[in-house]
């Protein structure tokens, strides 16, 4: 009598253990998926809050030079020419080219900016300094390292130089704030030179020159 009772208890325990072993990994996967979906929906909500860049179909389609990584090791930039309808207004035009840069090239290995980063605001000061404000994903999703961070900054500076001649320098903000570095390496406290023919250095923070590894855009 006692033996049978023990048998049933052990059977129930073993069954529970087997069920838990099967169910717990499934539960963990579901929790991870739910967390990812929540993160995506937050990013989606943030994107929806941002005013879309108006694309006027009447804007002339112009050859636009965009700078993405040139090779698979991701250490230099190369220009890619695409036809885009671009506004004549320098602020709108800058938003259009930066958003195209954020969207990335066809070959995703050549992208220089994280795909989930969003351009929150962009304006140009009277002295030609452009202020680009990006979402936090720009700092948190970019691969950490000097080469990848410098490449990201240079791709923006060179693309703006090639397409928006009014811009002299670029200042990058993250979520409206000045931050010390992009992802632990490249200095964001200063401005980056966009117009490489600029002779007079600006007052205030020291401008950071573009990397010598980046080929200068050909006119």
């Amino acid at each position: 009598m006692m033996g049978r009772w023990k048998f049933w208890v052990i059977t129930a325990l073993v069954t529970t253990l087997v069920a838990a072993a099967i169910y717990i990994p499934i539960l963990r996967k579901r929790m991870k998926r739910a967390a990812r979906q929540q993160q995506q929906s937050e990013e989606q909500a943030r994107r929806e809050l941002i005013q879309p860049v108006p694309v006027n179909p009447g804007d002339p389609r112009v050859k636009t030079k965009l700078f993405w990584a040139s090779d698979s090791d991701g250490s230099t930039l190369a220009p890619v020419v695409v036809e885009l309808p671009l506004s004549n207004d320098p602020v709108l035009r800058s938003k259009q080219v930066l958003n195209t840069l954020l969207a990335g090239p066809v070959d995703t290995d050549l992208r220089t900016l994280p795909p989930d980063a969003v351009l929150l605001a962009f304006y140009i000061l009277p002295d030609g300094t452009a202020i680009a404000d990006f979402s936090e994903a720009m700092a948190t999703s970019i691969p950490s390292g000097i080469v990848s961070e410098q490449l990201a900054v240079d791709s923006m500076a060179r693309t703006l130089e090639a397409n928006v001649p009014q811009i002299q320098r670029l200042k990058i903000l993250i979520h409206g704030q000045e931050v010390e570095t992009l992802a632990g390496h490249v200095d964001l406290t200063s401005t980056f030179i966009v117009n490489t023919n600029l002779a007079v250095p600006p007052p205030g923070p020291a401008p950071a020159a573009p990397s010598t590894t980046i080929p200068a855009p050909k006119p």
């Binding site: 090791d73 991701g74 250490s75 691969p143 950490s144 390292g145 000097i146 080469v147 990848s148 410098q150 900054v153 010390e180 570095t181 632990g184 390496h185 490249v186 200095d187 406290t189 200063s190 980056f192 250095p201 923070p205 020291a206 401008p207 950071a208 020159a209 573009p210 990397s211 010598t212 590894t213």
Partner: protein, 278 residues
């Protein structure tokens, strides 16, 4: 009414014990605040302690490089900076690899190689702590005749290659006293940094195929506030399948840095007068 003497004595005894415990506890708390934890300890060679009169980040200047009489003239010190640490792991790779941990191991190897070449090595961190950029620069700025090497592991790039970076051009500015502002302390040393960087990169290119032949420029935050010839060495990358692939690179990287420093020694003439620019 009866007075229970036993209870009174027990009460007094307990009160004394309680007071003694409170006193002991308070003393322990006071001492724990006075003795900083290993992560809070200032660096051993912080300018305000090791070199009297040397500027600190708070003074806003980095130009006056004051030396103690014991220090030898000439380039004989390398300030070695394993990047990141503490709550900042840096780049994260496969299998939980952390840049902050790998660079510590590399730093130990580089230190041995530099000491074999006769250099004195001053590390910016030896454990899992994270001094600020300015704290790390301050260690180098307090030395005379020092060079600064910051070690990084990237999360991109061709695995097995190494790149040396020198800070991008900074306009030289001096304030009314002739001192260099702290935030562009690297400006007068950029020429020397390029020479040092090119030498180290040359030795690295011989060992690690696919590495560039000369040093690159980038706006590296750590280098900007360093008043010494300063380079960043970045190894590719944490995205390797096996940590041993990176570990195998350490002796080669260490040897190249040490040989680069030795070759740079005759080029780096430390000014005879402290505080003068190179």
């Amino acid at each position: 009414m009866l007075l229970d003497v036993g209870n009174i004595i027990r009460f007094r005894f307990l009160s004394i014990c309680g007071l003694a415990s409170v006193l002991l506890f308070s003393t322990a708390i006071v001492f724990s605040f006075q003795v900083p934890s290993p992560t809070q300890q200032p660096p051993a060679t912080s300018p305000s302690q090791a070199v009297p009169g040397a500027p600190t980040p708070q003074t806003g200047t980095a130009g006056a490089l004051v030396t103690s009489p014991q220090q030898q003239s000439g380039f004989n010190i390398v300030v070695l900076d394993p990047a990141h640490g503490g709550t900042d792991p840096g780049a994260r790779g496969t299998g939980g690899m952390r840049e902050s941990e790998i660079v510590l191991d590399f730093a130990a190897e580089v230190r041995r190689a530099l000491e074999q070449q006769g250099f004195q090595v001053v590390p910016t961190r030896q454990g899992n702590d994270n001094p600020s950029f300015d704290d790390r620069s301050a260690i180098a700025n307090a030395q005379r005749g020092a060079a600064f090497v910051t070690l990084h592991i990237s999360s991109t790039g061709l695995p097995g290659t190494v790149r040396v970076y020198v800070n991008s051009d900074l306009p030289q500015l001096t304030d009314a006293t002739g001192m260099i502002p702290w935030d562009r302390a690297q400006a007068p040393f950029l020429g020397l940094s390029h020479k040092f960087g090119d030498l180290v990169q040359g030795f690295l290119a011989q060992r690690f195929k696919g590495s560039p032949d000369t040093a690159q420029t980038a706006s590296v935050r750590q280098l900007r506030t360093t008043a010494a010839p300063a380079i960043a060495v970045e190894i590719s990358s944490v995205v390797v399948n096996d940590r041993t692939d990176l570990d195998r690179m350490a002796p080669g990287v260490a040897d190249a840095i040490a040989r680069g420093a030795a070759a740079f020694k005759p080029m780096y003439v430390v000014p005879a007068t402290p505080g003068t620019q190179p």
